[in-house]
Amino acid sequence: MDIKRRASAGTLESSDVLISVRPADKLILKIESPVFAQYGEQIEKVCREVLAAFNITSGEIHLQDQGALDCTIKARLETAVRRSLSQDD
């Protein structure tokens, strides 16, 4: 499944993450995080699990992390993807 429309979820407040998704030819994951050196791999893993659950194979996913926990990253990405897909209806 492709990301066909732009959508976003979350905020730039502390402990949150702002996630924007938009169409792209392939799957691109851009992660900005103050804790990228320590947790970058884990953040990517959480994102790839959510994208796999939605069968997303193409789209640009841009995360602006403010120190969010995994459960927040998961929720915000799910919301962004659902918003993007619901606009396809």
Partner: protein
């Protein structure tokens, strides 16, 4: 025994995280008024994800959107599989609303292989009709464990000003206590909304306690310590309760139905209250001996 119930905005990751370590007896994860209309989906997903991940060492109540909104069914569909202790339906004005929500919860419990009746209900009474129908609402489902009075929406419905003294909600407070006690559920008082007025908070909570409320909703973590203290049995009350039980046991041994303590007659209602105080103290882990 729930003394303090802290509202947590459902779309705030930092508050959802911190809630786990705050000294509230219960958290009310709010999907209703604290969440903007265009963020209802985000809050629902965030609360569900937090419930799935965070191990909250306290009661979790989820306040869902009102029955006349487009969201309450989706709220239940995402939240019930995660087994919160209770759901808080809002603006409850009659028993039919409660029955519809309870039926939907039953359907979702069956689908999720959760024992039917596991998730409880704490209706929020915040309309004039709700106050008038409070007993009917409290008796509408065996899931109901408490009623919460919502003073802000209620005074808007009553078309009067909400004041710190609370004269305008005195009748409603008493009505909720009587209805809840008659139905065998707990009455919980409306929050005190001035975060910086510590003395006003204490006065308001003591009034609620004197009317028969068993706990109070809270909108700021700053209020938790005072509310927990006020709604806990005080050391003097625990000491007196022990004396009452001792006196009545002595009277029973002497073949009498009543006893005398400090010049006052001790009979069944006083013994019943003493037992309740000791039970509350035991549950809270308070010292029962000197």
């Amino acid at each position: 025994m729930i003394r303090s119930l802290l509202f947590i905005p459902g779309n705030s990751p930092v508050m959802l995280q911190n809630g786990a370590v705050l000294p509230a007896d219960a958290l009310i994860l709010d999907l209703e008024d604290a969440v903007a209309t265009d963020q209802k989906d985000a809050a629902r997903t965030l609360v569900a994800s937090a419930l799935h991940t965070v191990d909250y060492p306290k009661e979790i109540i989820v306040r869902i959107n009102s029955f006349d909104s487009d969201y309450w069914q989706q709220d239940l569909e995402e939240i019930i599989p995660l087994r919160p202790q209770a759901i808080m339906p809002t603006k409850c004005s009659d028993s039919s609303t409660i029955r519809s929500i309870a039926e939907k919860i039953s359907e979702l419990e069956r689908q999720s292989n959760i024992g039917e009746g596991t998730v409880k209900l704490i209706p929020l009474i915040e309309t004039a009709r709700g106050v008038l129908n409070a007993y009917e609402i409290a008796s509408a489902s065996p899931r109901i464990v408490a009623l919460l009075l919502g003073g802000e929406d209620l005074t808007a419905d009553l078309q009067c000003e909400r004041t710190k003294g609370g004269k305008e909600i005195f009748y409603s407070r008493s009505s909720i206590v009587i209805a809840a006690r008659a139905a065998g559920v707990e009455p919980i008082d409306t929050p005190f909304t001035d975060v910086d007025d510590d003395e006003g908070l204490i006065e308001d909570a003591k009034l609620a306690l004197s009317l028969g409320f068993s706990g109070k909703a809270v909108i700021s973590p700053r209020h938790l310590a005072a509310i927990n203290e006020i709604f806990s049995p005080q050391a003097e009350a625990v000491k007196y309760a022990r004396e009452v039980i001792s006196a009545i046991e002595g009277a029973k041994k002497a073949g009498k139905g009543v006893a005398s303590l400090h010049g006052k007659m001790i009979d069944a209602p006083i013994v019943s209250r003493a037992k309740r105080v000791l039970e509350q103290a035991r549950r809270l882990g308070l010292p029962l001996e000197d």
